[in-house]
């Protein structure tokens, strides 16, 4: 198991800003088809699941989840499900390949691949493919499993209505140009590319 990422009572929670999913994995080349499709899936994932990203670090409640995951740890992101009086931590990893996890205290489900935000394709397979090479796993603590089931039900239902993962239409490209224009100055082109 990896070293504890924080010491309770010593470290300060959320002491660093951290990078958002969009900043890390989309803004480096926002007008490429890969990133246009990724942006579409990210928004779809956020709107359908109701999850809100947590970019600040360290987030103790997310630390409790990710420090238990010992492999398949790639393209990670932290999320909250905001309910009336409480917020439930969700943690997502999107590694290349497929994994099975049996982690005491955690439960997970696979996010449908046409909604999973990252949708990575290995260089050897680039072209017209319908299934990504990455798999998105959404984790919660066991006590929060019923919330994961709720989120998954929404994602599964929505996935049936959506196109294949890297579909990009002319309209998507136009929207991407508009968005980049609006966000001019906020986007760091050619900057950070994933983690």
């Amino acid at each position: 198991m990896r070293k504890l990422s924080y010491v309770p009572g010593l470290d300060t929670e959320f002491c660093e800003g951290g990078n958002s999913y969009k900043f890390s994995r989309i803004d480096y080349d926002p007008l490429s088809d890969e990133c246009i499709a990724r942006y579409r899936r990210l928004k779809l994932f956020e709107n359908t699941s109701g999850l809100v990203e947590e970019a600040r670090i360290p987030s103790f409640r997310h630390c409790e989840i990710f420090e238990k995951i010992t492999y398949g740890y790639d393209h990670s992101s932290s999320w909250w499900l905001l309910l009336d009086n409480i917020k439930i931590p969700f943690f997502m990893i999107e590694p290349y390949g497929e994994y099975r996890f049996d982690i005491d205290g955690l439960k997970y489900h696979e996010v449908p691949n046409n909604i999973a935000p990252y949708g990575g394709v290995s260089i050897a397979r680039e072209g017209k493919i319908r299934v990504p090479d990455t798999t998105a796993y959404l984790f919660v603590k066991t006590a929060h499993y019923r919330h994961l089931l709720d989120v998954m039900a929404r994602l599964e239902a929505r996935a049936k209505l959506e196109p294949y993962f890297n579909s990009v239409t002319a309209k998507d490209r136009r929207n991407a140009k508009k968005r980049v224009r609006v966000e001019k100055g906020l986007i760091v082109f050619g900057g950070y590319n994933g983690d």
Binding site: G9, D84, T142, A143, H144, Y145, R146, H147
Partner: protein
């Protein structure tokens, strides 16, 4: 001031000078260091809102003790109340730790299944290395490391964690619990009542008074007899000590059937309104009084059958037969005179020959027919 006093003062000064030179704080300096005056803004930020962990019973950030006799339903009702709050998303189950130290293996399995369904942590002795003696150590650690804030521990039942009959043990448990609560934790303890009830027929807590005294809030659950269907039970939570806006009294019913699962038992729980519980209580009181008067009623019945029908003669005869005071017999004669058997009347008065009042026993079956006609 005498020489001795001066010497003492000198000594104290020397002690303080020594402490200063060693870079230690004096006692007064330490007291100043401990003062939290000036930190209220920070403390208010950490203060927990008035959120119920168990609706109307237990508040977040408090120590609540619920007392009840065995098989009254304290575990059942605690779980039902917890379920309500968890499923309505008022409570994050990841902070709720139910320590089930009063169950058999089947019970542990059934309750763990519910914990998985509703989303909270179930802990049981001798599972995954947990031992009941660890709980106080964990509470101390949680308090000291600042991790106690928001953590809810439910101890079922308290006697598995401390000796309630032993004053020193209970008092020590109280000190540990208070430090856990002061650090933002929440503690709910389920404990037993005495076998014997008080003069009013109400249950009283078992053990020394320390746990009740140290708790922020204490409730006693009593079964309410009578009135419901055969397999239904009614219970009432009565507040014994409060710190916060908790209910004075709150009642529930549940239905216990042979062969039913624990989940079904939990699903049978219902909250009873004041009117319903009032009716149940008056029915129970009615039954209790009737049982109490049963010997007197049969003695009066025998007298009337033997032809002793005047009030004075009945009182004299029954008193001689039973040894009950004449005043009490007269009271019963009055209270149980009437035409309504269902209201507890057992005889009626008829005017006989020479305008004499005569007592006649009521026949429940004949009378109900008469009423129906």
């Amino acid at each position: 001031m005498g020489t001795n006093s001066n010497l003492k003062l000198d000594l104290k000064s020397i002690t303080n000078i020594a402490k200063k030179t060693q870079g230690q704080a004096t006692a007064l300096e330490l007291l100043n260091t401990y003062s939290i005056t000036g930190n209220s803004t920070e403390l208010r930020k950490q203060m927990l809102d008035d959120i119920f962990v168990l609706p109307d019973i237990a508040l977040l950030g408090q120590w609540t003790t619920i007392y009840a006799a065995p098989n009254t339903g304290k575990t059942l009702l605690t779980l039902w109340l917890l379920k309500k709050n968890l499923l309505s998303n008022n409570l994050d189950g990841d902070f709720v730790f139910y320590v089930n130290a009063d169950d058999n293996f089947k019970g542990i399995v059934e309750k763990t299944e519910l914990a998985e369904q509703w989303g909270f942590h179930m802990i049981a002795p001798n599972h995954k290395g947990f031992n009941t003696s660890q709980i106080t150590e964990l509470m101390v650690d949680l308090a000291e490391t600042g991790e106690a804030r928001g953590v809810i521990i439910i101890l079922d039942t308290l006697k598995k964690f401390t000796d309630l009959m032993h004053k020193r043990d209970s008092s020590e448990f109280g000190i540990i619990s208070r430090s856990f609560i002061s650090a933002g934790g929440t503690l709910i303890c389920l404990a037993h009542t005495n076998k014997h009830k008080n003069a009013e027929g109400k249950s009283i807590y078992s053990g020394t008074s320390d746990i009740r005294d140290d708790s922020d809030c204490a409730f006693i659950i009593d079964k309410v007899e009578g009135g419901l269907f055969q397999d239904e039970a009614a219970v009432e939570f009565v507040n014994d000590k409060a710190r916060g806006d908790v209910a004075d009294k709150i009642s529930f019913s549940y239905s216990k059937k042979q062969g039913q699962s624990y989940a079904d038992l939990v699903n049978s729980v219902k909250r009873l309104d004041g009117q319903k519980i009032g009716k149940l209580k008056s029915d129970a009181e009615f039954k209790r009084k009737l049982d109490e008067d049963q010997n007197l009623i049969s003695a009066v019945g025998k007298s009337i059958k033997a032809g002793i029908t005047s009030k004075a003669a009945i009182v004299k005869n029954v008193s001689e037969e039973t040894g009950v005071a004449q005043r009490k017999i007269r009271e019963s004669l009055i209270n149980r005179t009437g035409e309504m058997y269902d209201l507890g009347h057992r005889w009626t008065v008829k005017i006989g020959a020479h305008n004499k009042s005569e007592y006649v026993m009521l026949d429940p079956f004949v009378l109900s027919d008469e009423i129906n006609n």
